[in-house]
């Protein structure tokens, strides 16, 4: 069950002026895990996420991805390690078609022919083949999330970081997304930042709870949801 540690955060802190968005976080992720980061708004999940991807340079501490010190690196350097990243608000090439979007991702890692084949396969796998010629900017929110997921998958990453993949989706779309994520987990290690408790139950076992910039508790979903501290932190949130 436990392989090596592939992502490690050591004493990671991110301060914005006086606000400690992330406060001395120590975090380990093992190979092939699917870990969910949860916590109320402002708990520091997305900030932590951005420190991992290189979008933010931490105020203190280190991020290590498989022996590579990723702290403060440029996002493209992190991506080139084989890390697939999906952002909180879907970032797509709005003026290009769905197919072109996915192709650009595939093409970064493979030559033209293989990239085209991979793109076609990915479009089928995510069942977005029928909108392949639509402009990304014109799509509905759920479809945009899938296109972005497609771009991530087409690069065949070994580490996948997803920020709120199910946000704004209908129930059917959420189920489909959960299915996809479980599928991806068969070949990749994953971190998923999410709010939706039901969605998290659909995909994972181990969960890390953030609160006020620190890790509150890290355990299986059942243990975590029964924990009184977590209940307190989520006061006002619907009891699961």
């Amino acid at each position: 069950m436990r392989g090596e540690v592939v992502v490690e955060a050591r004493n990671l802190s991110m301060h914005f002026g006086g606000v400690k968005a992330v406060d001395r976080v120590n975090f380990n992720l093992w190979e092939n895990e699917l870990r969910c980061l949860i916590g109320p708004n402002g708990a520091g999940k997305s900030t932590f996420f951005k420190c991992l991807t290189g979008q933010l340079t931490p105020t203190a501490g280190d991020v290590v991805i498989r022996d590579f010190t990723a702290t403060g690196r440029q996002p493209h350097e992190v991506a080139r390690l084989g890390v697939g990243i999906k952002t909180q608000v879907p970032n797509l090439f709005d003026g290009l078609t769905v197919e072109e979007n996915v192709l650009l991702s595939a093409r970064k890692w493979h030559a033209a022919t293989r990239a085209r084949a991979l793109t076609a396969a990915t479009l089928e796998r995510l069942r977005i083949g029928d909108i392949r010629h639509h402009l990304a900017g014109r799509l509905a929110h759920g479809q945009r999330q899938w296109v972005e997921l497609g771009m991530v998958v087409a690069a065949e990453p070994w580490l996948v970081l997803l920020d709120e993949p199910a946000a704004g989706m209908t129930h059917e779309e959420t189920e489909r997304t959960a299915e996809l994520i479980r599928e991806i987990n068969q070949t990749a290690t994953m971190i998923v930042v999410e709010h939706d408790m039901q969605f998290i139950r659909m995909i994972s076992s181990k969960v890390t709870v953030f609160h006020e910039g620190r890790i509150l508790i890290e355990d299986n979903m059942d243990v975590v949801s029964a924990d009184p501290r977590v209940r307190e932190v989520y006061l006002g949130h619907r009891r699961q």
């Binding site: 440029q74 996002p75 493209h76 991506a79 952002t87 090439f93 709005d94 003026g95 290009l96 650009l104």
Partner: protein, 344 residues
């Protein structure tokens, strides 16, 4: 492109000498427009000072030609100088992650600084090698000659051919470039920088490379310009010329290569016409055009025309489809069931 070749062949037969020389100047400006179409239209790099590379190419050619005594190597020097300057400026801006708007102001400032610097070079102490910089009067440019034969100077007609060749070649090159993987990535960067980065592309490098190529193309334009006008002066760096370059791209169409080229031709004739009639001031008209286009036709003429065309065609096609459906329904009940999307 076929039109371009036709035009090249026919024009000297039809037009007078003066018009041909004029045309050469316009061609140079069209190449400048092309460079900005590439850098801004395709790359999304908002450069308000493309004239800087154009002017540097012109000055570099002139100074080099005077010093070398012939034009062959001067052309190369000109393009290299323009490209090198673009690379340097680009490095500062892109690796410093300067954003859109700041970039526009910085590039505009650069061309204006070049303008004011070169205007002050009137005295005899300002020279590079044998070439006096000449201050606000500028320097007379040695004309193009047959490669490696400095005494065989080209006639204006041949200069025109050379200019058109340069324009066509540049256009072909740029068209090819935007189809390559490099070109597509540059477009993607224009669409969403963060996403391109997260896929793993080093956007700073891509932007720098595109910007340098754009600078080189502008430099080529500068070389042709010297030969069209006969001299180069600091006015080539002026605010007016920098504004014109932007206007060509906006009016002609951001996102196409041919649009700004046509825009350059069109606006040149428009402003010449206005200049001769003398009723309304040049700047006034240009300003109004710019404002109107930004407010009403932000994509420019060519893309808007293309969109109308597409929409008209789509309408025609759906009308034809309607017609076919109706015919089929009239022909038999069974067929109507099979008609896609059919129904009352």
């Amino acid at each position: 492109m076929i039109l371009g070749i036709l035009f090249t062949v026919i024009a000297p037969q039809v037009l007078q000498l003066f018009a041909i020389i004029n045309l050469t100047t316009i061609i140079a400006l069209a190449i400048l427009a092309l460079s900005l179409a590439l850098v801004w239209g395709y790359g999304g790099i908002l450069c308000f000072g493309q004239t800087a590379f154009f002017g540097l190419g012109a000055y570099a050619y002139t100074i080099a030609a005077i010093n070398f005594g012939g034009s062959t190597w001067a052309i190369l020097v000109a393009v290299l100088v323009a490209a090198a300057f673009a690379a340097l400026l680009g490095y500062f801006m892109f690796y410093g992650r300067v954003s859109d708007v700041y970039m526009a102001v910085i590039t505009l400032t650069v061309t204006l600084i070049l303008y004011s610097l070169l205007r002050r070079t009137s005295g005899p102490e300002y020279k590079i090698g044998k070439a006096l910089l000449g201050g606000f009067n500028g320097v007379t440019s040695p004309p193009l000659n047959v490669p490696w034969n400095p005494s065989a100077i080209l006639f204006p007609e041949h200069v025109f051919y050379a200019g058109m060749a340069a324009l066509i070649l540049s256009y072909v090159f740029c068209s090819w470039l935007v189809q390559t993987h490099f070109g597509r990535v540059s477009v993607a960067i224009r669409e969403n920088e963060l996403r391109a980065e997260l896929i793993g592309y080093d956007i700073r490098f891509y932007k720098l490379a595109l910007f340098t190529v754009g600078g080189a193309v502008a430099g080529v334009g500068g070389v042709i310009f010297c030969n069209g006008v006969g001299r180069v002066s600091p006015d080539v760096f002026s605010l007016h010329d920098a504004a014109l370059t932007i206007i060509w791209v906006i009016v002609g169409g951001r996102g196409t290569l041919i649009g700004p080229v046509l825009g350059a031709f069109g606006l040149f004739y428009l402003t010449s016409f206005l200049g001769t009639q003398g009723v309304v001031n040049n700047n006034l008209v240009l300003g109004i055009i710019l404002i109107l286009f930004v407010l009403l036709v932000p994509r420019g003429i060519v893309p808007t025309l293309v969109r109308w065309w597409d929409r008209a065609r789509a309408r025609r096609m759906s009308q034809r489809r309607e017609l076919r459906l109706r015919r089929r329904r009239g022909a038999g009940g069974v067929a109507s069931e099979a008609a896609p999307g059919g129904g009352p």
